[in-house]
């Protein structure tokens, strides 16, 4: 079965419907699926629920889908790097569910692994625990969190072969593997599709079984906080 598509529009063709649930990879603006986000904007699909650690910045990343009012609800651990997000949230146009970062990652991983719920000590005794089942194991309280299964995963990797085996680069890996795992359908954008056999099978970060469609393209890879040090002069 052919997994490689010519562009993001074609890769998403037939997969989108209003009100759907999307899991997106990325941390801040690092390792985000830029091309697939652009294609979602173009498609006009709306009332989206998106699970993503962050929601981009004004005019870039998932922030673009805020500008076009295509997002109904975000499931995130940290937001507010964009004024438009806060405006929509405070005016009640946008729903927000905070998840602790590790809980969000594990919810995605678990959902992809057939685990509908798991117990964690993260958030015990905080607002995060409200309404959740508590169970004591060996003298310690844990809360029940649900696995996430998304209608669609959108993910960015560094390299793929045509079977969908993926390699990520540095900290751009972040939420991409768990996000990929939890989608009923997973679409991946990469910087380079390499010939089958050219990736070392021992160095595959995510096996192609999780990947259904692949595109290759150019990425802007915007830096959110450019921080440097001065070269010491002798």
């Amino acid at each position: 079965m052919k997994k490689v598509f010519d562009n993001a529009d074609e890769a998403l063709d037939g997969l989108l419907k209003d009100g759907m649930f999307i899991a997106a990879g990325g941390f801040g603006l690092c390792g985000i699926p830029e091309l697939l986000i652009d294609a979602l904007v173009k498609s006009g699909v709306k009332d989206l629920t998106i699970a993503s650690n962050n929601c981009g910045v004004d005019g870039f990343g998932l922030g673009k889908l805020l500008d076009t009012r295509q997002i109904r609800k975000m499931i995130s651990s940290y937001v507010g790097e964009n004024a438009e997000f806060m405006r929509q949230y405070l005016s009640g146009e946008l729903e927000l569910e905070f998840n602790p970062q590790g809980t969000l990652a594990e919810r995605m991983r678990a959902g992809g692994c057939g685990i509908p719920g798991f117990f964690t000590k993260t958030g015990v005794g905080t607002v995060i625990a409200e309404g959740k089942d508590v169970k004591n194991f060996d003298g310690q309280d844990y809360i029940l969190e649900r696995g996430i299964v998304a209608d669609l995963s959108i993910v960015k990797a560094w390299k793929a072969d045509d079977t969908g085996n993926l390699v990520f680069r540095k900290t751009a890996r972040n939420f991409n593997p768990p996000a990929a795992m939890c989608g009923k359908v997973c679409v991946v954008e990469v910087e380079e599709i390499v010939p089958r056999g050219s990736l070392d099978p021992d160095h595959i970060h995510l096996p192609g079984i999780y990947v259904h469609r692949i595109i290759q393209g150019q990425h802007e890879k915007r830096i959110e906080q450019r921080t440097t040090r001065k070269k010491e002069t002798a």
Partner: protein
């Protein structure tokens, strides 16, 4: 004289021992990295990296290499990368020896509040709740009082909690306190700060 930011960071660095894997929060905790000296410390960045290096030289920034504060950083010879689920697996699993974090409030029972002020802009807890629940030892570094001069070391936290009973040690501009059964125990005072001054600035119960 109370300690300044750098002196607090230097004092916090004394908490770290050879061989430790450590997570440093944003703000004063980030400065702790400047004071580890010859100790063999591996810094974790919860977005998926062990062995965090210093900021890059100008022109050498890599958009694929950032820390949890989204700042560009560098890798070291010992560096490894992994996904977010694995990263919080090692945090939740107690593999990270210590986290050094900032705080808005700490209570005498070790309750910590550092993510939300009701009525103000709430950006989210990020990885803070996972860190305080999971790591071996939680060390808070913060000013002892707020801008209004009110104690941040309290009987009970007034703000929504990040974790319940999670703090082990508090390092402030006035000194060092440990969370022990029944309250807080003074470990030391900053140079030139008396124990009476430290007690006066502390709302929490201090036990001997």
């Amino acid at each position: 004289m109370p300690w300044d930011r750098n002196q607090m960071a230097a004092r916090a660095a004394e908490e770290l021992e050879d061989g430790m894997y450590v997570n440093l929060g944003i703000g004063i905790p980030t400065l702790v990295a400047n004071y580890v000296g010859d100790k063999d410390i591996t810094l974790q960045s919860e977005n998926g990296m062990l062995g965090m290096g210093p900021f890059p030289f100008e022109g050498e920034e890599d958009p694929d290499l950032i820390n949890a504060g989204k700042q560009t950083i560098t890798e070291l010879a010992r560096t490894s990368y992994f996904d977010s689920a694995t990263s919080f697996g090692m945090i939740r699993g107690g593999k990270i020896a210590a986290a050094i974090l900032g705080a808005m409030e700490v209570a005498e029972n070790g309750d910590l509040a550092n993510w939300m002020i009701p009525g103000k802009l709430v950006k989210g807890m990020g990885g803070a709740m996972d860190l305080v629940a999971g790591v071996g030892r939680v060390i808070v570094v913060m000013d002892h009082t707020n801008k209004a001069g009110e104690s941040k070391v309290l009987r009970e936290c007034t703000l929504p909690l990040t974790g319940r009973g999670v703090v082990d040690r508090i390092i402030t501009n006035l000194g060092v306190l440990d969370v022990v059964p029944g309250g807080l125990k003074i470990v030391e005072t900053a140079d030139g700060v008396t124990e009476d001054e430290l007690r006066a600035a502390t709302e929490a119960k201090i036990v001997d």
